[in-house]
Amino acid sequence: MQWINGENISLVLFFIGVYGLVARRNMVKAIISLGVMQSAIILYFLSAGVSVHPVPPIGDVSTAAAVADPLPQAMMITDIVIGIGTTAVALTMVIHLYHQYGTTNWLRAKWKRKG
């Protein structure tokens, strides 16, 4: 049962996200798959340094045995912000594409673009 820890699950999630990008022809599903991939990465970072019963790194922690690592937490906050920015810009583009080509399907948009 020790195979089910945060890191392995996040790797599985990551590749589920990649599968969603490869196999689905809807543009919105592509953006959702990107979100899944980013969640997987956040999970990986946060579970990478976990120890048993860690204490949050606030205030005076010299007496506690295991302190949670603050560096991945800070990095992941930045990553969530970047994810929001990317998703917002991508969704705006998808809306414009939908109004322009009338479809959210990658293949149909490619045909209409070539013509």
Partner: protein, 130 residues
Amino acid sequence: MMYQDSPIIRVVIGLLNPLMLLLAIYLIFNGHSSPGGGFQGGAILATVFISHYVIYPYEDIRIRTLQFMEKILYLALVLLSVLVVIVLPVQLSLWQNQLYMTIMNILIGFKVGAGLTLIFLRFVFHEGGL
């Protein structure tokens, strides 16, 4: 709109709104010494406005005002950081640092709240064309 005015959502969001607002302000003001900070508080602040829009879709919201406010906040952010980092090269004491961080967190929080609300409103009011 798609669905009629749903009483459940109206009541629940009405109950939760003050709590969300309080949580947002708490996160913003305590960003320098506990988890949270400007960005997280700003995101919850945006949630307050967006959820208010969900229950009562008002069309006459003034987007220009919100954009103008966001630009002013961004400018204030940049000016303050330039001021403190460049113009005052002295080593600040602890309470001065805390004050600086708190003010920056407030500015960031309001800017992010305004920005995310604007993104949402732009999506909703997009009637077609650019």
